[in-house]
């Protein structure tokens, strides 16, 4: 029976020759992830199971990134609970402040995820690792606890939407514009319970960082996971970062899809998601004048080195608009160091940006850049729900790093070409 790429990975991890959409299976887990918000609840549920040990202390990753470095006493306590749990069960992949990063940028960089893996994470953007040809999906804390105790979890085998990408993006159009465009097309529940399987020769034109950005926001279309085929670029990334054995799965040519969407990358323009849904998209050209108070560049969506390069290139030799605040947060310590080595941080600070240590901080309205009543922000993050970054009457516009940087120069949402000489 013909299967999608996701179905093949799930079948292999369930010890079955084939699976079909709708089937309930139990699959073996290659990695279980949690952060400082979701792990405390998972830990308390885990202890209730009374297993006495975790299924594999090398296959659990704990990343204190959301309210870390701790924003207040309560968050410090939660981080401490995670730290002590990691110690008690000898969790190998616990990443302390100073060595950490935002989980979804950190795990691929540390080589903890590879092609063909099944990964669950108590964080909805766990779907990011689909860029590497893995099945990865977000779950809640109780599922995380179950995963840590047993090394397996039940899944309903998903149907899939096939997204065929063709052509080459023009100008500084990036992975962010691709995924915002797609979410605008199919809606925030367009892929609910389904996989988004990307295919087509347009993928050749997308870097790994672009693919991470696209897979990252699959959840914003309601998808269970987003996944890319494994090509030369994927293997190059995997070989450079991971020593884990990998398996390459490919969808059958006659695999069943619930829907097919085609996107010509060459036809895309700079795309922005307006408040208060990621599907509320417009091109910058059709946006009109939107004055902004703050720009945020970073997050698990767009805090990777190419994102910082794209922003710094536009900022170079320019000054931030009066009355605008720009906050940059590299996604991991390694990316931070690389950005220093390349002079990007210097460019950004000279431009007038505040550069932060890796943290989720402003992305979820946690700390380090909360919005006041009535303020507008352009962010390279992934959600613009009511109150996401602060006051319920603040507004978040989601955009690419290039658009965010250009907007910081003009003080209104702008295309990169508007600021180039």
């Amino acid at each position: 029976m013909a299967m999608t790429m996701t179905q093949k990975i799930l079948a292999a991890h369930a010890g079955k020759d084939s699976v079909k959409a709708g089937e309930l299976i139990t699959a073996r887990l290659d990695l279980v992830l949690g952060n400082d918000i979701t792990s405390p609840l998972a830990i308390s549920e885990f202890e209730k199971i009374g297993a006495g040990k975790v299924f594999d202390n090398e296959k659990i990753a704990l990343v204190p990134d959301h309210f870390c470095p701790n924003k207040d006493i309560k968050s410090a306590q939660q981080a401490k609970d995670v730290r002590e749990f990691a110690k008690k069960y000898a969790i190998k992949n616990y990443f302390e402040v100073g060595q950490m990063g935002i989980e979804h940028a950190l795990l691929p960089e540390k080589g903890l995820v590879t092609a063909g893996d099944v990964v669950i994470g108590a964080d909805s953007h766990t779907c990011t690792y689909g860029a590497l040809g893995a099945f990865s999906t977000g779950i809640g804390s109780t599922d995380m606890a179950a995963g840590m105790a047993t090394g397996e979890l039940w899944f309903k085998v998903p149907d899939a939407i096939k997204v065929i990408l063709t052509g080459k993006p023009a100008k500084k159009v990036s992975g962010k514009d691709v995924i915002l465009h797609l979410i605008g097309l199919i809606g925030v529940d367009g892929a609910r319970y389904m996989s988004l399987e990307f295919t087509g020769d347009g993928i050749d034109a997308l870097s790994m960082d672009d693919r991470f950005t696209i897979a990252n926001m699959a959840i914003e279309a309601g998808a269970k996971n987003g996944i890319f085929p494994v090509d030369g670029k994927t293997l190059e990334y995997i070989n450079a970062h991971s020593t884990k054995p990998h398996t390459v799965y490919a969808a059958d040519t006659d695999a069943p899809y619930a829907q097919v969407v085609e996107i010509d990358l060459a036809s895309l323009d700079y795309t922005v998601a307006c408040p208060h849904l990621p599907s509320n998209t417009k091109t910058v050209k059709n946006l009109g004048d939107i004055k902004i108070d703050q720009v945020v560049i970073g997050s698990c969506t767009n805090g990777r080195i190419e994102d910082l390069r794209a922003a710094a290139e536009i900022m170079k030799g320019k000054k931030i608009a009066g009355g605008v605040r720009c906050i940059v947060f590299p996604a991991t310590q390694k990316i931070y160091l690389q950005a220093i080595a390349e002079g990007l941080i210097q460019t950004m600070v000279e431009f007038g940006a505040a550069v932060s240590t890796p943290t989720c901080g402003p992305c979820l309205g946690g700390h380090m850049g909360i919005l006041a009543k009535g303020e507008k922000c352009v962010a390279t993050t992934n959600r613009n729900f009511i109150g996401r970054m602060g006051h319920i009457e603040s507004e978040v516009y989601l955009a690419s790093p290039a658009v965010a940087a250009a907007s910081a120069i003009t003080g209104k949402i702008s295309a990169p070409e508007e600021v180039s000489k």
């Binding site: 108590a122 606890a145 269970k224 009511i386 996401r388």
Partner: protein, 164 residues
Amino acid sequence: MILRGKTHMFGDNIDTDVIIPARYLTTIDPEELAKNCMEDIDPTFSGRVQQGDIMVAGYNFGCGSSREHAPIAIKGSGVSCVIARSFARIFYRNAINIGLPILECDDILDEMHAGDELEVDLSKGTILNKTTGRTYASEPFPEFMRQIIAAGGEIAYIKNKLRK
């Protein structure tokens, strides 16, 4: 199991950030979380909600983050059941895992008002609107999920499984 309560109505795409905003995620205590449940979309909710009340909503309820704090905050508020046209995937799992009954029902919303008295029969999946006298059928859970619910949530289910 029969649940009875008054309805609280919400729209489409109610996301986990409005169910429980991130700024309150420094605790896992259900009563603490309940104090701020729905506050960004309905600041009076936590003051009005009564034990047993029922939430009724549109499409894609619980979209957004994986925070299990969202169904916990709802359950902690005393809400006995959530009925929606559809649920986001992670919320659906989380609700089952923590033992918050949820029902998918498409046609109910058009004929319902805030404050209507409902009677929900979970084993049959039927919903009776006592205010209007109309009954509705919802999708029954697959057998496997009923086992998790019957065990009292996922943790109890796993405990039983590990014991075998």
